[in-house]
């Protein structure tokens, strides 16, 4: 179905090729998972299979790419797209309309299909991905998993022979991840598609028994299956829950916290305490109030009821600029928190703003060296890779050494090596006495590295316990999708 021979691609102005001598053959009906570190060329290869690379980007190509017998280097995108559908990483970025029906009709309307046929195709595509109940919904009202299903269905309506999915589950909660993977399974059974998935979280795909391909530095690693991938990643050792010092006072104390957006409650009577040296994981489905909880802890959202004290201060009576001296907050998307013109300026941005410049330069220098960023000291931060930006985010917060760290899904989109590095840093920071609240969708890393798991559902804390006990309670109360699926002997997340 896909036949790539000797493909080399260099983007104009790039020092080295993004793809080097790629030769790959994928048979009809196969499910192939391509993984590898960030920047290894996975997404570029996906763009090449869809023909986009040759029509929309500037660069030099060698070799051939045939999909379904069509030379996608030579044909216009719309012609290649009749055979290959590409579902991008973030469904939000690929939607062209506002409603499910409009979105699914979009491709067929552009190809001038008559309305009756469009309706038939939409019904079929929604059925295959298990989303028939979503047909009359506005896209803005869908959950992350529902959006991903609609994005897949919107490619499926044109009846392509190949579907390429670029990290389809990267920002989904475990329940939504499973639902999307079930939908992908049905694609092969019911639509007979050839499916190519670009993914870091390959463990979740195990039930689909895919063929695995590992890429590194633009090349396919010969014999690169799961074992090769595991061997490349040095996961930090699992840590036992931290012992709480007798008489210790919590750095974060939340009692009866409620918060509402207008009339809609988001958090309901949340109580929790985080002590120095604790790494607390916060899990729950998308929209359960996890991010709002973090915002309340820094005073960015003011509680409608209850009390929140952080480092001894009442967040309702303390300005954010004062709280921020004791609390570091990192959001999910690295690009949303880079404000300075150089890596160095970014690293020292917060301490100088917060009046904590004493020792900040030395700390920043040491952090940049530890995080492998010192060679880029004078570069603009936007020129860093995704993983490097994430490390810079952490350095930019640690340069003023706040005792409390709030992390919102910081592992999303990170390759296993970088995720392992970040988790190693977090365990060290906890061991050094910091209180860390880590919002995450990953049960496996929670089990291995967190001291406690706080599970939110519909704005309420339903479990707050050591991870093993917490997962046992979740299992007993019907939250199976949130349990760790696999062990991590040598590991992947």
């Amino acid at each position: 179905m896909i036949d790539i021979r000797g493909l080399t691609w260099r983007f104009d102005g790039a020092p080295r090729p993004a793809l080097q001598e790629i030769t790959l053959r994928i048979e009809p009906g196969e499910l192939v998972v391509i993984s590898g570190p960030s920047g290894c060329g996975k997404s570029t290869l996906a763009l090449a299979m869809g023909g986009y690379l040759f029509q929309q980007y500037h660069g030099q190509a060698e070799g051939s790419v045939e999909v379904g017998g069509l030379d996608v280097r030579q044909v216009p995108i719309y012609r290649a797209a009749e055979i290959v559908g590409l579902v991008q990483q973030n469904p939000e970025n690929q939607f062209c309309t506002l409603n499910v029906m409009d979105e699914l009709a979009f491709a067929l309307e552009n190809r001038r299909y008559p309305p009756a046929e469009i309706r038939q195709q939409i019904a079929w595509a929604l059925e295959v991905v298990g989303a028939a109940h979503l047909r009359d919904r506005a896209l803005a009202t869908l959950s992350g998993g529902e959006k991903q299903k609609v994005a897949i269905a919107s490619m499926l309506v044109g009846r392509p022979q190949v579907l390429i999915l670029d990290e389809p589950t990267s920002s989904l909660d475990p329940a939504a991840t499973r639902a999307v993977l079930e939908a992908i399974g049905r694609l092969r059974q019911e639509a007979g598609l050839t499916v190519v998935i670009i993914e870091h979280k390959t463990a979740y795909l195990e039930p689909l028994r895919p063929r695995r391909i590992l890429m590194r530095e633009g090349r396919i690693v010969p014999g690169g299956g799961a074992a090769a991938l595991r061997a490349e990643v040095a996961w930090p050792p699992a840590r036992p829950p931290a012992a709480r010092a007798p008489g210790a006072e919590p750095l974060v104390r939340v009692e009866g916290l409620s918060f509402a957006h207008g009339e809609a409650p988001v958090l309901r009577e949340v109580s929790l305490a985080v002590y120095p040296g604790e790494l607390v994981a916060v899990m729950g489905r998308n929209g359960s109030g996890k991010t709002t909880l973090l915002r309340c802890l820094l005073g960015l959202a003011k509680p409608t009821a209850g009390e929140v004290r952080v480092a001894g201060r009442d967040v309702r009576r303390t300005p954010v600029s004062t709280l921020a001296r004791d609390v570091g907050l990192i959001f999910q998307n690295p690009d949303h928190q880079i404000f300075a013109d150089s890596v160095w300026a970014e690293a020292v941005f917060a301490p100088y703003n917060l009046g904590l410049a004493d020792g900040a330069d030395a700390r920043a220098e040491a952090l940049l060296a530890d995080y492998g960023l010192l060679p880029y000291r004078d570069q603009h931060p936007y020129r860093l890779s995704y993983g490097e930006k994430r490390r810079l985010n952490l350095a930019a917060v640690l340069s003023y050494a706040p005792p409390v760290l709030l992390l919102d899904e910081v592992l999303v989109g990170q390759d296993p090596a970088n995720a392992a590095f970040l988790l190693g840093q977090l365990t060290q920071l906890a061991a050094a006495g910091r209180a860390i609240v880590h919002v995450t969708h990953d049960p496996l890393t929670t089990l291995r590295y967190a001291d406690r798991l706080v599970f939110l559902d519909d704005g309420r804390v339903i479990v707050d316990d050591a991870p093993e006990a917490a997962f046992a309670r979740l299992e007993a109360t019907g939250y199976q999708p949130y349990l760790p699926l696999y062990d991590l002997p040598a590991g992947e997340g």
């Binding site: 719309y78 797209a81 970025n93 490619m155 690009d335």
Partner: protein, 263 residues
């Protein structure tokens, strides 16, 4: 915190159910009439229609009107300027009564002040009623069905889709800056410019990424492949819409006749 925005309010009122193009046509005609036939009476009638339309959208309190704090002072300023600086007409009152009187306000000044400020207010309120009662997506599809080239129609749809996303991202960037000690209470213009640049740069980078993704998505789904396309969605004209359109046509003819005959 939830903020009031200029946005569609779902509803089933007569105004909500009116065809988007008919509403747009009435807005255009009334706005045109206010310029072609500038009389105080027409301004008053149009203002009354605008208030009725706003009531139909479900708006029940001035507090739900987000732009009011800017709109009303602007109208008042337009009125005061005309009243103070128009010299023609009979003097109605002198604002400075001492020493023979100064700052005269004339009846013509008051009339022109009412005309200009009332016209401005009426057009804004009518447009607001259209926004509140019309799903923007319906308007875009109705325009395309009426002949607007679909490339332009989808520019509107894309803008509608991306606006809330950018608003959300803007809030995240703002929060991230507060968390890193950025203070937004600066008064120096230079400092404000720096703050603005720091706020906009991450949004710009994000927007460029989105444009790339959207281009891949649209081209991959045949957008632009043909000069025309089919539409699954139909925004149908009901009997009520046809009546409203007929009255619109009649009113337009009356306006033209009135204008051609010299008012």
């Amino acid at each position: 915190m939830a903020r009031q925005r200029l946005a569609y309010r779902p509803g089933r009122s007569w105004l909500h159910r009116l065809h988007p193009l008919v509403k747009l046509g009435w807005l255009a005609l009334l706005s045109l009439a206010l310029f072609v036939a500038p009389t105080g009476a027409l301004v008053a009638v149009t203002l009354a229609v605008a208030l009725l339309a706003l009531w139909a959208t479900g708006l029940r309190s001035w507090r739900e009107f987000p732009g009011l704090r800017l709109l009303l002072p602007t109208c008042a300023l337009l009125f005061v300027l005309q009243a103070l600086f128009r010299r023609e007409g009979e003097v109605v009152v002198r604002l400075w009564p001492f020493g023979g009187g100064a700052l005269p306000v004339t009846d013509a000044g008051l009339a022109v002040g009412w005309l200009i400020s009332g016209r401005f207010l009426a057009i804004i309120l009518l447009s607001y009623a259209l926004l509140l009662s019309t799903e923007p997506n319906d308007l875009a599809y109705a325009l395309m069905a009426a002949g607007l080239p679909y490339r332009y129609g989808f520019m509107l749809v894309t803008a509608l889709r991306l606006m809330p996303i950018f608003e959300l991202e803007g809030n995240t960037v703002y929060d991230a800056q507060l968390a890193r000690g950025v203070r937004y209470d600066a008064r120096s213009p230079l400092r404000l410019l720096t703050l603005l640049r720091r706020l906009l740069l991450p949004l710009l980078v994000s927007a460029l990424g989105k444009v790339d993704a959207l281009a891949v998505s649209m081209e991959g789904r045949g957008f632009g492949q043909y000069p025309d396309r089919t539409f699954l969605r139909e925004v149908r004209m009901s009997r009520r819409d046809w009546w409203a359109a007929a009255w619109l046509a009649l009113a337009a003819v009356a306006l033209v006749v009135w204008w051609v005959s010299g008012g």
